[in-house]
Symmetry: C2
Subunit: 397 residues, 2 copies
């Protein structure tokens, strides 16, 4: 195990009807920090208006005597242009607090705004250089899509639509102060979006699971527990979208998958995320769908680097050969069967597992690999150069 | 799953040589909060002086220009009298921060002092009535014994030695701001103390695991992962006390066992803890040893209440009948085999599993049961009245 620091102070308010607490939670926070009452309400394309959530939130905020300024219009793979608009608005209206109501894209957009308000330069510079910021506008969240784990993470991923680049920034200043999570708000999600979310959260754990760090027994156990929970509850949710119980399991698992606990004391990999970011920046595909394509291809490319770890994944997570004496197991066969089982699970939840399924061909492979690995490498489990990335794209065809 | 709120802001600083960071961590905290530099250094019977930890801590604090006032002498089952002395000292010396260096007893004593300083009445009143406090003196921790999970919990357990009562108090004000955890500091622990710690941390998970709340798939998985980690790594540690790796697994598991995560959305039981508190208040035995005796007896008394949950514990945690088709399993037999396996594990790590082994007979059973269950009941999984508690004591004879 490596030395580590772990702190995650996001207050999670989880369960039925918790969105009604948003006015009080925001006020409590503002009062404790002696801040003003100007709130930027940040949201997406308007599905929160159709579902009635918007009205409930506005009512709760107004009852708490908060001044609400609105900025909607966040799209999946959130755009830098809207972030800049948000920064301008926050400065003009002297915003004290940003309330993000939506999924990971809305939250990531809010985080980028938060980081940019007190930063003198172009906010995109933060994403390019990861330079530390001195301050951020505090953020609260009402989560409507369990997926990105952004509700309690310290990262933001934003797309520069002009440059076709999708980059991430991280800072303790942009970690949400509270996250309100009501699984009932997920009842109306289309199955495709539920599956994309499940793919994303599973990928967050897998990025941490495939590590070169030795002696990580406890976090291995926690990762496996979280992955099994996601794998078991996603199909149940797809079958009965309005069943509270599997929705609740998935929603809580998605937060833990990315709140920092599962990588305590271990190095993560993250190359599949980096590779997928090139795909979704270039083709504007859903992040979760991209991960379902990239991850199995990455696994096939690297599994020989530590076959024992892939066997552990196969047996303990995917349930392959789990009743066979570990000494009798064929390592190669079991590792590959684990990858196949994962691929089959993605298919079962109606995720694409090949680029060809979403009409992407090899024409941009070189360009994307170049952007991804530049003059350096991506990933930690196996350090991949741009030729490796191209090979992984080819395996994903 | 029940609605829940979860927030744990304790900063964990984990790994080799992390104790050397204490001066800087304390100063960073004090500066952020604009507090003064007066530190109460609280510790136990002097083992930190023998081990050299005391000198390192003093050096680090002095280098950070902090004014150190000392209060040693905390004993296991920490005493109210020393807490009162600490409160007086904090008031006289205008203490800004309490640094607890030791195990759960030292931390719990520090928490009680923290709670009492700004409280007008007798601090014992807080433990008797659990009334909320308005403020506490902030606390930092260097943990030397993984066991109680007090380093990131919001509870304190203190013994009123005159009244022979051991009670707990909880408040967000007494949750430590940081916890420095170096597994190397556990290398010199006697095996008996390591085992008592392991028993305590396992019990913390079991108290959460045996629940009546339905649909708790994810937290069941996390609880089972944590219990297996403790069960596997304790014997390894006892065999090689200076092996960093199993020490590190145990130490991190002990924190997670009691930081609030594992009971998110589920009701815990806690009757074994309540019953054990009567034992250790009356006989001044080690808490972990008391739990190794009480827990199996409690299990034998209540398992029929939800045999399926005890079967799940047997199979998934203790590994009983794990390769048998669940439909073919004999429930009663498996549940009991799980309890036996737990009892055997306690024996293997040299914990007592019977009161007779530590020379306690039935003479005080009635008195302790009366104190424990008073006019009401203890526990949630099964609500136990005082006669039930007496029966459990008898099963533990």
């Amino acid at each position: 195990m490596e030395n580590f620091t772990f702190q995650n102070e996001t207050k999670i308010i989880f369960g039925k009807e918790t969105e009604l607490l948003v006015g009080k939670e925001t006020t409590d926070y503002l009062d404790t920090e002696k801040l003003g009452k100007n709130i930027l309400l940040h949201y997406g394309s308007g599905s929160i208006k159709k579902s009635g959530l918007y009205d409930k939130v506005i009512k709760s905020l107004k009852e708490a005597n908060l001044n609400v300024i609105e900025l909607g219009g966040v799209v999946p793979n959130p755009r830098l242009s809207l972030v800049k608009e948000g920064i301008k608005l926050c400065r003009e209206k002297e915003i004290d607090f940003i309330l993000a109501v939506g999924g990971g894209s809305v939250i990531d957009s809010a985080k980028a705004i938060s980081a940019g308000v007190h930063f003198d330069g172009d906010v995109w510079q933060l994403f390019e250089t990861m330079e530390p910021i001195e301050k951020g506008v505090p953020i609260g969240v009402i989560l409507t899509i369990p997926a990105a784990g952004s509700e309690s993470s310290w990262t933001s991923v934003v797309t520069n639509e002009e440059k076709k680049r999708k980059l991430h920034f991280r800072s303790p200043w942009i970690r949400p102060k509270f996250a309100i999570m009501n699984p009932e708000l997920n009842f109306t999600l289309p199955n495709y979006q539920t599956s994309c979310g499940a793919s994303d959260m599973l990928a967050h754990v897998m990025e941490r699971y495939f590590t070169n760090t030795k002696n990580v027994d406890f976090t291995d156990e926690l990762c496996e527990a979280t992955m099994r929970t996601i794998i078991r509850n996603t199909p149940l949710t797809l079958k009965n979208p309005k069943d509270y119980n599997p929705r609740a399991e998935l929603m809580w698992a998605s937060t833990i998958a990315h709140n920092g606990l599962l990588n305590t004391g271990r190095e993560g990999d993250w190359s599949s995320h980096m590779i997928e970011h090139e795909l979704s920046a270039m083709y504007d595909i859903a992040h979760g769908a991209g991960l379902a394509i990239v991850f199995p291809a990455w696994m096939k490319y690297v599994y020989k680097h530590d076959i024992q770890r892939f066997v552990q994944f196969a047996v303990k997570v995917m349930g392959v050969n789990k009743n066979i004496d570990p000494n009798e197991i064929n390592l190669e066969e079991t590792a590959l069967a684990g990858i196949s089982a994962l691929e089959q699970w993605f298919k079962d939840i109606k995720m694409p597992v090949k680029l060809s399924e979403i009409n992407i061909n090899e024409s941009k492979f070189e360009e994307m690999s170049e952007l991804c690995a530049k003059d350096s490498t991506v990933g930690c489990f196996v350090k991949l150069n741009k030729d490796d990335v191209t090979e992984i794209f080819k395996l994903a065809l």
